[in-house]
């Protein structure tokens, strides 16, 4: 079924009736939302969105899987990923060999995820968050060691994790994501216990 053209016209208004109806309609809609607000705002540092697994956030390298094919660096549209030559000791040949591993510059990264998709061995993956603060621009260029760790997110320690769900009446509904909170509380309790024990030991 191809598209059809439908000829339309601006809705007409007669001078008096529509002026009243229009004003009253506008005011009524305004009042409706005044008394029943439909809020969508995320109070960001106090809350943060727990994003889905497929979200293209920061990128992490699994060094063991890397075969040094340079595909990621070649496909990177912003030249944010480049190959670093590292001397690696080869057990079989019993000598040092130069191997290339990717490193990333988050000053440039645009999170297009092409490197992750093109990697033939799945040595790269995304973590589902992107809101990480670095102290200076030099820190945003990761060393090979940092590139293998999942970056730490400060908001995750204080804010409430929130998920948006689709809703017919309200569009997006913000709901606290309890599972994540519980997980974090458990972790904190454990940490406190460890700390407490440590103190006891010290005393």
């Amino acid at each position: 079924m191809p598209a059809k053209v439908s000829q339309k016209k601006n809705p007409k208004r007669n001078p008096l009736g529509k002026v009243f109806a229009g004003n009253i309609g506008a005011l009524a809609v305004g009042l409706k939302y005044f008394f029943d607000p439909n809020r969508i705002t995320l109070l960001y540092p106090h809350e943060y969105i727990k994003l889905n697994k497929g979200y293209r956030g920061f990128i992490v390298l699994i060094k063991e899987k890397c075969i040094s094919c340079s595909s990621c660096a070649r496909i990177c549209p912003a030249a944010a990923m480049r190959m670093l030559s590292v001397k690696v000791y080869n057990e079989k040949l019993k000598k040092y060999m130069i191997k290339k591993y990717p490193v990333i510059n988050y000053n440039r990264c645009i999170f297009c995820g092409l490197c992750v998709d093109v990697c033939p061995t799945e040595a790269l993956y995304h973590v589902p968050y992107h809101d990480i603060v670095y102290e200076n621009m030099n820190d945003m260029i990761l060393s090979l060691e940092d590139f293998q760790k999942e970056p730490e997110n400060i908001e995750f320690k204080e804010g409430i994790p929130v998920k948006y769900y689709f809703d017919e009446r309200r569009g997006l509904v913000k709901t606290p994501y309890m599972e994540e909170l519980e997980k974090r509380n458990e972790k904190e309790e454990k940490n406190q216990k460890v700390e407490g024990e440590g103190e006891k030991g010290a005393s």
């Binding site: 340079s70 660096a73 070649r74 990177c76 030249a79 480049r82 190959m83 670093l84 030559s85 590292v86 001397k87 290339k100 490193v103 510059n105 030099n138 260029i141 060393s143 090979l144």
Partner: protein
């Protein structure tokens, strides 16, 4: 029903140097001196607006190709097709008659080609720079002899030096 190619052949007669069905448009190459005349004839066929004015720099052949991609809004049959009206001009003396007087829609596009390639459109009503500042426009950035250097994919320094400076 005659095909569009035949229709154009009939209208332009022996003005055409080459007509070919390219991918997505019909390319008609006319000589520079016949460009304006052909444009008027094509407009009479019902092609009423210019979609894009393009220039391509063939630096080896010392030529520019200027293409007007034209199509129609008011004629539904023609609006299914895009016609490329091309001409080749000399790279050292880039002058071309402006078609902005025939199609108003070409006005800003010709200005853009003028500043990026330095092609002068004779008879353009308002030939000024559009997007660039005069300093950048003087470099004629879209010509092939203006080269943008892209970064290499390898880091030249070794591991220790990279960790120490962390800069590229």
């Amino acid at each position: 029903m005659i095909s569009l190619q035949d229709m154009i052949k009939e209208a332009l007669g022996n003005n055409i140097i080459k007509i070919e069905d390219n991918k997505g448009y019909i390319d008609v190459v006319v000589p520079l001196e016949k460009l304006k005349e052909s444009a008027i004839k094509v407009k009479q066929l019902g092609f009423d607006h210019v979609k894009s004015v393009t220039a391509v720099d063939y630096i080896q052949k010392k030529q520019f190709m200027v293409t007007y991609h034209i199509s129609s809004y008011l004629n539904e049959e023609l609006s299914r097709h895009v016609l490329g009206l091309s001409t080749f001009i000399d790279r050292d003396n880039p002058h071309i008659p402006s078609l902005a007087t025939i199609w108003t829609s070409a006005e800003f596009q010709e200005r853009e080609v003028y500043e990026f390639f330095g092609i002068i459109f004779d008879g353009h009503p308002d030939l000024r720079l559009l997007l660039l500042t005069p300093v950048v426009a003087a470099l004629k950035p879209l010509r092939k002899d203006f080269v943008v250097k892209e970064d290499s994919i390898n880091i030249e320094v070794d591991y220790a030096a990279y960790n120490a400076t962390k800069w590229w």
